[in-house]
């Protein structure tokens, strides 16, 4: 074999053999399965395909996707905006610390019955719920991102009398961006969960409604198909976000890890913000 193609294929092979093996095992194990709960994988994928092409699943997918995007966009605007203000003003940051931590710790899924029973089963309350759940990680990460900017940077900006709008746009925002994006990644997983929960709880359309309906009418293959589709949607959205992150943070990732680490404060602040790092965004509720 050509050595250059081998060096290209080898790492890919090392990463893909296990997922491929798992897929193959699932395919073989369920083939000809007569179990009611575990239909053959080929049948599930076939159902997924026909539902997407001929059924109403595309409409459900569109409804769910739109709610996630709207809620997350709203949460980003509000979270980053409020986070920049709170992060810049020390008094405000100290005063709101415990309140923000409490808000972050309150499970938004608890609000699902309250909001949907009072505001209805339409799209609006769902967008609001997604916003409510995803705004906190973004806000808290923005605050700690602003905090992590070295005091020297602030003093330089002040020393040159850079106007505050310009400072916010060209110094604070880029400085906090790595943390903000990590927060958005955490928020995304929360948004997907709230999308599913709010649609299972009460909705005429959407992916959550699809799996609930097919599940309660014992269409097992459809239920599995919908569940897989939600998983794929969640994964693709996180990959998309990762691509955005690479595009926006090329400058950050190109720096040496040591220099990158120095951006963060050398000593823990008195109040430790509940920051989620990019490595720990496994909070898939």
């Amino acid at each position: 074999m050509n050595p250059t193609t081998w060096t290209f294929w080898q790492p890919l092979l090392r990463r893909l053999w296990l997922p491929a093996l798992v897929f193959a095992v699932l395919l073989v194990a369920t083939a000809g399965s007569t179990s009611f709960y575990f239909p053959p994988l080929t049948e599930v994928l076939g159902v997924l395909w026909t539902e997407l092409l001929h059924g109403g699943l595309v409409g459900d997918l569109w409804f769910s996707l739109r709610n996630i995007v709207l809620g997350l966009a709203l949460a980003t605007v509000v979270g980053v905006g409020a986070g920049l203000v709170i992060g810049e003003i020390r008094t405000l940051r100290l005063a709101t610390g415990p309140l923000l931590d409490f808000a972050r710790a309150t499970p938004t899924v608890g609000f699902v019955p309250v909001i949907i029973l009072t505001l209805g089963i339409g799209s609006g309350p769902k967008v609001f719920l997604i916003f409510l759940g995803s705004v906190w990680p973004i806000l808290l990460n923005t605050v700690s991102g602003v905090q992590a900017i070295g005091p020297a940077v602030h003093e330089t900006a002040r020393g040159y009398r850079i106007p505050w709008q310009l400072r916010l746009r060209r110094v604070t925002l880029p400085g906090a961006l790595p943390q903000i994006l990590a927060g958005i990644r955490v928020a995304l997983s929360i948004a997907v969960v709230l999308m599913v929960v709010s649609e299972i709880y009460g909705s005429p359309v959407g992916l959550g409604n699809f799996i609930l309906q097919s599940g309660s009418s014992f269409h097992v293959a459809e239920t599995w198909a919908g569940t897989i589709l939600i998983g794929v949607l969640g994964y693709l959205l996180s990959v998309l976000l990762l691509l955005v992150e690479h595009a926006l943070l090329g400058w950050y990732h190109q720096r040496a890890p040591r220099a990158r680490r120095a951006v963060r404060p050398p000593t823990p602040p008195a109040h430790k913000p509940a920051t989620e790092r990019a490595t720990s965004n496994g909070v898939v509720v």
């Binding site: 090392r14 990463r15 893909l16 053999w17 296990l18 997922p19 008094t91 100290l94 005063a95 709101t96 610390g97 415990p98 309140l99 931590d101 409490f102 710790a105 309150t106 499970p107 899924v109 608890g110 609000f111 019955p113 309250v114 909001i115 029973l117 009072t118 505001l119 997983s189 969960v193 599913v196 929960v197 299972i200 709880y201 959550g208 799996i211 609930l212 599940g215 097992v220 239920t223 599995w224 569940t227 939600i230 969640g234 994964y235 996180s238 680490r261 963060r264 404060p265 050398p266 823990p268 109040h271 430790k272 913000p273 920051t275 490595t279 720990s280 496994g282 909070v283 898939v284 509720v285």
Partner: protein, 255 residues
Amino acid sequence: MGRVRLLQLGALAAVLALWALIAALGVVSSTALPGPASVAAEFTDLVGGGTFWQAVGDTLRGAVTGLVVAVAVGIPVGLVTGVYAAAEESSRLLTEILRSFPVIALLPVFLLVLGSTPGMKATVVFIACVFPVLLQAQYGARSVTPAVHETVRSYRVPRLLRFRRVILPGAVPSIMTGLRLAATTSVLVAIGVEVLTTLPGIGHMIMESQQAGVSARAYAYILTAGAIGYAITMLAQLAEHRLLRWRPPTHPGGE
């Protein structure tokens, strides 16, 4: 420190006042947002009764069961896959896909397969919690420096001893971060499952109260859930500090 506490109390008072104002002005209907006074009254009523503690116990039981199993599985698997680069590389794509999976979406499937049982709740919690623990353990094991590995090798430290006395302590800071995330997640998932099924617990009480039109009680339960989540975060941070006293202070956030 006293000044900071005062500021924080002031902020709390301001938020409560704003809440009371919004509720009093009737900007939002009282079923969507009851006033703080009625929520507080409901809360004191609840704390005196048995159903409240029953619900809290049910939620915590499901959350803790799932969490314990997740820790028992996640830490060993994470450490082993973290130490051997080949294992980490092979399992990366799989864990990436699985951890971005919204576990609650498995609920209809689980309702079909396992039925509406407390065991099902714990299973959903387990699946949601195992990935943060596993990934953080993996990350921690990878952060053990090559120099340490070589020292261990040259002293021919047995494999089991190496995991127990070298890799595990080295990975503890990272594991604690995973544990904190998983603990918060466990309560969240347990409540999520209860909201959507008929299983008893805080989530179920929220739903029942709201359906009965007593939204102040629903809010009292939501705030209870918030208090539990907050307490877990604080306790985990405290444990982190105590467990990691031997270490020089590192940057916050537990990378």
